[in-house]
């Protein structure tokens, strides 16, 4: 296996061209709403003294036209009765707008829930109406005092490419993976790849296939989580014409398609128990039957399975067959989370920046220190897949060869905004509580029962607090 090579990143003195308004430079702001009356009228008189080049849009359509026609640093708009929906609408409308303007939402007595949602969406701030000069000035101060970004060169990366896929990284945890991968590839053993979502299980499966005895055959991947339960069996084993409603023609299943190559069953834990039994039969007997067909068809595929679940736990809960587990887990490869891979993040950023740069016909050879900090501080729930997505988007919106903070999704910049706000004063106990509840709810996917359990309170208490904080 070839390992990735890199040189340490150096910090050059060169200043980036990112537009951050300085104290001497005015902020270009667009206020949306009635100018002569309403809650924003005081803005006009503060604008000059606060060095804000302010323009007005009487309504949303006019604002959209102005946004498309020029670069803006800030957009201020009053949220209506459906504040949550308005907030989402604005974040969406400003996505990709020239100059990547930051959004300041103005609302009558904004709830804590609204403020937290705004924070999550990367909104610069939510200010309470009537607007106070000091509050507006404080937000502007944050815009002014944002540090200039320094461009850092992206390190060279030598990836172990498998078609469009690549294994990138030289952290100790990844070196262990490479060693195991090299040992297992030359055998025909069934392999179980485990790891969180987006850690690269399919890439590893492809690498095993490419370096193994089945390399000359096809690599066929089936995503068991993506395919509706009722269609998965026919997808795997095929069907005869008329076997069921919708079986409009004979279909060759993935087992047969894989022939003497490799069949990769991704998210295997999502399979029903009855289908698990059929897979077990295919693995043991090396033969399958098409749905609606009586003939046994021999198969010689190498099987690689993957999951992001804990299969031992699934076995205990009766959701996964123990006999199938032992058939699949002849060799187990555990993939690390991105946040456990240290400086692999920088290598991956470099790899993806070049890969997407090539795809979109752009030269990308640097990243700003601020953007890199944001990437380093992110939690990466979606691991490498999420990082790839973020870098692809950044490459698309980048206007020169350096990726900057403004090219990153608002959600990543939200952490920075939160830190900036935290610097302005200590939060109240209620604010801390609301924030913590919101985090736990996000963790449980909004499930109140599970959230109450984690928080150690009764679900009725949690429901009451959610209502109180507007969560």
């Amino acid at each position: 296996m070839t390992r990735t090579m890199t040189r340490p990143m150096t910090r050059p003195a060169q200043e980036s061209g990112a537009h951050v308004p300085t104290d001497k430079e005015g902020v270009r702001a667009l206020a949306v709403g009635g100018e002569s009356s309403g809650p924003l009228q005081s803005l006009r008189q503060w604008a000059a003294e606060l060095k804000v080049d302010l323009e007005w849009a009487a309504d949303l359509p006019r604002a959209t036209r102005l946004l498309a026609g020029g670069r803006w640093d800030l957009v201020l708009a009053v949220l209506g009765e459906k504040a949550d929906e308005d907030l989402t609408w604005w974040v969406d409308a400003l996505r990709g707008a020239p100059g990547a303007p930051r959004f300041i939402a103005l609302a009558d007595r904004p709830s804590m829930g609204l403020a937290l949602r705004a924070e999550k969406l990367g909104v610069l701030d939510v200010l309470s109406l009537p607007l106070r000069r000091e509050a507006f000035a404080a937000v502007l101060e944050r815009v002014h005092s944002a540090v200039s970004e320094v461009a850092l060169p992206l390190p060279p990366v030598e990836a172990n490419a498998v078609g469009d896929y690549a294994l990138v990284g030289q952290s100790p945890v990844m070196l262990d993976v490479y060693k195991l991968l090299a040992r297992v590839a030359h055998s025909t053993a069934t392999v179980l790849v485990q790891g969180e979502s987006g850690t690269g299980k399919e890439v590893v499966a492809r690498a095993i296939h490419k370096h193994g005895p089945a390399a000359t055959g096809p690599f066929v991947a089936v995503n068991c989580a993506a395919i509706p339960e009722n269609l998965l069996e026919s997808e795997l084993f095929g069907h005869e014409k008329g076997a069921f409603t919708g079986a409009v023609a004979r279909k060759i299943g993935r087992f047969e398609q894989a022939g003497s190559g490799t069949l990769f069953l991704d998210e295997i834990a999502d399979m029903s128990l009855s289908l698990q039994a059929k897979i077990l039969r295919a693995v043991q007997e090396r033969e399958i039957e098409r749905v609606g067909g009586g003939e046994s068809i021999p198969v010689t595929v190498r099987l690689i399975a993957a999951t992001n679940r804990n299969l031992q736990e699934a076995i205990t809960q009766g959701r996964f067959r123990e006999d199938l587990y032992y058939r699949l887990a002849v060799v187990t490869i555990q993939l690390p989370r991105l946040i456990d891979r240290g400086d692999d993040l920088v290598l991956l950023v470099a790899h993806f920046a070049r890969q997407f740069g090539q795809r979109y016909g752009k030269r990308v050879d640097g990243i700003s220190d601020r953007a890199l900090d944001l990437l380093r501080n992110h939690q990466w729930v979606g691991n490498v897949r999420e990082l790839s997505n973020v870098i692809e988007r950044a490459v698309i919106v980048a206007t020169d060869a350096t990726l900057r903070a403004e090219h990153l999704p608002d959600e990543l910049r939200a952490a920075e905004a939160e830190a900036e706000r935290a610097g302005t004063g200590l939060p109240t106990l209620a604010q801390v509580e609301a924030r913590h509840i919101a985090r736990v709810l996000a963790h449980t996917g909004g499930q109140i029962g599970a959230a109450a359990e984690i928080l150690g309170i009764h679900r009725n208490t949690l429901t009451r607090k959610m209502k109180e904080y507007g969560l």
Partner: protein, 429 residues
Amino acid sequence: MRVEQALRLLPDLEALMPLRGLLLSSARPDERVQWGSGGPYLTVGKREVEPGELARHMSEVLSVVAAHVGALYGAYVEALEHQQAGDAAGAVTSLLGAGRLEERVGRLRQAEAWYEVALALAEGLQDRRPEVETLLSLGHVCLAVAQYAEGGRHYQRALVLAEAEFDQGGAIDASVGLGNVALERAEWEGAQAWYSRALRLGAAGGDRFRLGRIEHRLGLLARRQGDLAGAGDHLRSAREYFEGLGPDVKGGGREMAHVLDAQGQLDAALGRPVPAAAAFREALAWVRRDDHDAALDVTIRLHLAELLLETGRLLEADEEMRRAEQLAITSNQTRGLVRIYTLLGTLRGRQGDETGFVFFEQALELCRALVRSPAEEARVYHAYGLFRQHSGGPDEARAYLERAREIFRSLGVDAEVERVAAEIETLSA
């Protein structure tokens, strides 16, 4: 529990439709699943639904249902009162009101039933204007459920009556309706003749709102015929009419959104992606400014996603479709959801991703369970067939295209039948 599992436990009963809607709108994607390898293929069927969450929102849905049923009962009582007072025209108005309430919540068959009752009453009146209004409503609902021949008959009768009664507004609307029927059936000359007639009538009366709508329809027709310059002229005129209405005219923003949406599609056809995207964005702003029409919002976002798809900006197209999906799910726009999944399937097809078939399967499932529109189902089968041409096999592709052709034929949409037949022919060659 997943939505697809939960739906299997729900019998196919009319009374349970709001519960089906609630099931879909309360479903949430699991953040961990989103980033999994199955994430790109997530559909509403794979979302998680929590019984407790359903229970929490049950009362809201029931109160909406109760309010709707209450309004229908109220409209009926009002109709009875009018009838008792000898005001049959008033009774017709009340019954039409009930039908419109049903239309607003997407219950088109139920709306049609109210309109039929109103028509029976209106036919006995000396004043024919209530009958014209009822026939126009029936024509509109028939068009929405792809019953073009029947819709055409209603509009034709409305036109005759309106002209006899010197009801100019009714005559314009009936002509536009006939033009719409012709447009849906790809009968360009017929559509042109009806819209032009409506335009002449409208110009005489100076009704800016109606004139704007006719110009908009003429713009759509010109684009469908390939006359892109002409389409641009008509859309510009439509915009001028609506801009001159002033901000307080009810529905003006919605009409403007329609025109800008058409403008975006036109710019896209002219290979001008930047102004096209700007037009779609402004259209969305008009939708937001007026009473938010979720169905229109979803439609515009879909057109924006199509533009991104056609210009190869697949990641952004995907993101836009996912935003439209979220909106369609939370606002119960199942018809929009079908279109979104069809387009997502097409996008995956462009990426050479065979697993993209899951989107077509989900779209068909929604057609069968919730939308119940043969026209939508035919469009899904058509796109599915094209997808299978490149990913799957010719047998499956042919089978889906034939199914689409069969449905289009049953609807009497000859242009679509011919188009699909030509694709089947190519496949066989």
